[in-house]
């Protein structure tokens, strides 16, 4: 009973905040709504005993990705009037996608997949089952190759983005800090006899 109540709370809040992302006029508010949405998604993971995924979702998405989003928005000057100008232009396409999705959802709901007996009922595991350990073991044994390939791709993307944005500016001033720290009085002050 308590679990259902919490599920409804998290699911409802994530839908509401998802709507808030799209509907709010202020981009900063949109970002805050998106953060709330991620929190509720993490709450849903917690309800499914997947505490590792829940915490990682907060750590990566809320702690790192959204901060970058916010940086970009703070630097941009968003013109609200210009954003609203395109509204009618994109309405037909967006509406079409919405209608297709609605038809799909209704069809799926009517097909009996979500009927009472058809849904899988997962039992809760005890606290001694540590899903961090389970995920680690399976990632580093069964799926090791895929995991390593993903890591290499990420590394290449990381280096690529640095290379693309690096401009070796020759006119900028650089300071050699270890030289600055190592400086002694004799290097700067000279005693002259008067």
């Amino acid at each position: 009973m308590l679990e259902t109540a919490f599920f409804n709370l998290f699911a409802g809040l994530s839908i509401l905040s998802g709507m808030g992302v799209v509907l709010s006029r202020n981009t900063m508010h949109s970002v805050m709504f998106l953060i709330l949405c991620f929190f509720n998604a993490a709450g849903l993971f917690f309800l499914l005993d997947a505490e590792f995924l829940g915490v990682i979702l907060i750590l990566i998405y809320v702690g790192a990705v959204m901060v970058l989003f916010m940086f970009v928005i703070m630097m941009l000057e968003v013109n609200v009037a210009k954003v609203r100008e395109g509204f009618l232009q994109y309405l037909p396409l967006g509406g079409m996608i919405a209608v297709i999705l609605l038809v799909e959802f209704v069809a799926a709901a009517g097909s009996g997949v979500f009927a009472d007996g058809a849904m899988a009922q997962a039992a809760h595991l005890g606290q001694e089952v540590n899903n961090t350990r389970q995920i680690g073991q399976i990632l580093y044994t069964k799926y090791l190759l895929g995991f390593e390939i993903a890591a290499i791709i990420l590394l290449v993307a990381l280096i690529g983005s640095i290379v693309l944005t690096l401009r070796g500016r020759k006119d900028a001033k650089y300071q050699n800090m270890s030289a600055q720290v190592k400086v002694r009085r004799e290097d700067r002050v000279r005693k002259v006899s008067m």
Binding site: F52, I58, T132
Partner: protein, 353 residues
């Protein structure tokens, strides 16, 4: 579970939360007092000694003063986010205390097995603390942006860069602890360090202890790294704040300082264990709080001792010194664990083999 059981459980949770949040708030008030007295002592002057005996009522007087001050909201500020920002920085600092184990108790022999004294003994406790403490960035960012003023926005961007940079080396420092303890549960990490001072992780991970503590200093914006919120730079991101909302920011800062000290004692200094096993007759909570109090003293000591960093020097320290050091130490620990011959040395600290 019946309704009565649920109500009882909720009451227990509320009491547990209160039992941690209230002492934290009180400690924050008195840390400000001790900070002023200790810095006064180090600078050969008196410090505050007027309000009450030996100035002991000074924090209460300060609180009253801040409470009675007018809250000024700039006209062009975004009102909702302006008022939400201090709360956004306070909440993560307090929520992170939920997984901190304050010791182990069998409640005077009533329970058969000793229980860990934490609100929630989470299996991913260490990751939880990292995740929650990374949220305090939002308070800083929001405060700068919502003030709609030049100095706060520059201050908040600088402060955010600083926090992101040092979070990375902090996280890698924690990876070495995980490698030795083989667990993310804070209680298990302390258990892995049982048996006297030689078993504490500060011995094999001494460079990581230094990196973690200094990064914590930068993360909370304490003195050698407080260049984003100093008076000369118009107080950084909270230029426009006054009264209670300003006090909320400093409450969050001191709360984060207590948390970093607690975590350092738990992860590197053996948590609730005494340096010599024979001294374990003194309850573990006293040991943990004693270590934490010492680390808080070290924070204040730093403030009285070190001059402020320049911004580019601080970035260099984070990215070019701490990050390679932590990555290198992960490599060294990994090499010791899996090389035959060398693993005999590290087995002394390895809990999971």
């Amino acid at each position: 579970m019946s309704t009565a059981d649920m109500a009882l459980q909720a009451l227990i949770w509320a009491l547990e939360i209160l039992a941690i949040a209230a002492p934290v708030a009180l400690t924050v008030a008195y840390i400000t007092y001790f900070e002023r007295r200790i810095i006064g002592w180090m600078q050969v002057r008196k410090g505050c000694n007027r309000v009450g005996p030996a100035g002991l009522l000074q924090p209460l007087a300060d609180g009253l003063k801040l409470f009675l001050k007018e809250t000024i909201i700039p006209t062009r500020a975004n009102k909702v986010l302006f008022l939400a920002a201090p709360l956004l920085s306070l909440v993560p600092a307090l929520v992170a205390f939920a997984v901190v184990p304050f010791g182990e108790t069998s409640l005077f022999g009533i329970w058969e097995t000793p229980h860990i004294m934490a609100i929630s003994n989470l299996n991913v406790g260490l990751l939880y603390v990292m995740a929650i403490s990374s949220l305090s960035i939002y308070g800083v960012l929001m405060a700068g942006w919502a003030s709609n003023s030049k100095y706060p926005i520059i201050g908040s961007i600088r402060s955010t860069c600083q926090m992101i940079s040092y979070e990375i080396s902090m996280g890698f420092g924690l990876v070495t602890v995980m490698m030795l303890a083989g667990s993310l549960n804070l209680g298990d990490i302390v258990h892995a360090q049982a048996g006297g001072i030689l078993h504490w992780y500060m011995i094999p991970l001494f460079p990581m202890l230094i990196v973690f503590f200094i990064s914590g200093c930068a993360e909370t914006g304490r003195t050698p790294f407080d260049l984003t919120e100093t008076e000369e730079l118009v107080s950084g991101y909270y230029t426009e704040y006054s009264g209670m909302w300003f006090a909320t920011f400093s409450l969050a800062e001191y709360g984060a300082m207590i948390l970093i000290s607690l975590l350092t004692s738990i992860l590197f200094l053996g948590g609730w264990y005494a340096p010599i096993p024979a001294l374990d007759i003194i309850p573990g909570t006293f040991w943990l709080l004693g270590k934490t109090a010492f680390l808080i003293f070290v924070f204040i000591w730093f403030r009285a001792t070190f001059p402020r960093y320049r911004y580019d020097q601080m970035m260099r320290l984070g990215w070019k010194i701490f990050l390679p050091w932590t990555l290198g130490w992960i490599f060294v620990v990994g090499m010791f664990i899996y090389t035959p011959g060398l693993d005999g040395i590290i087995n002394f600290w390895l809990a999971w083999r």
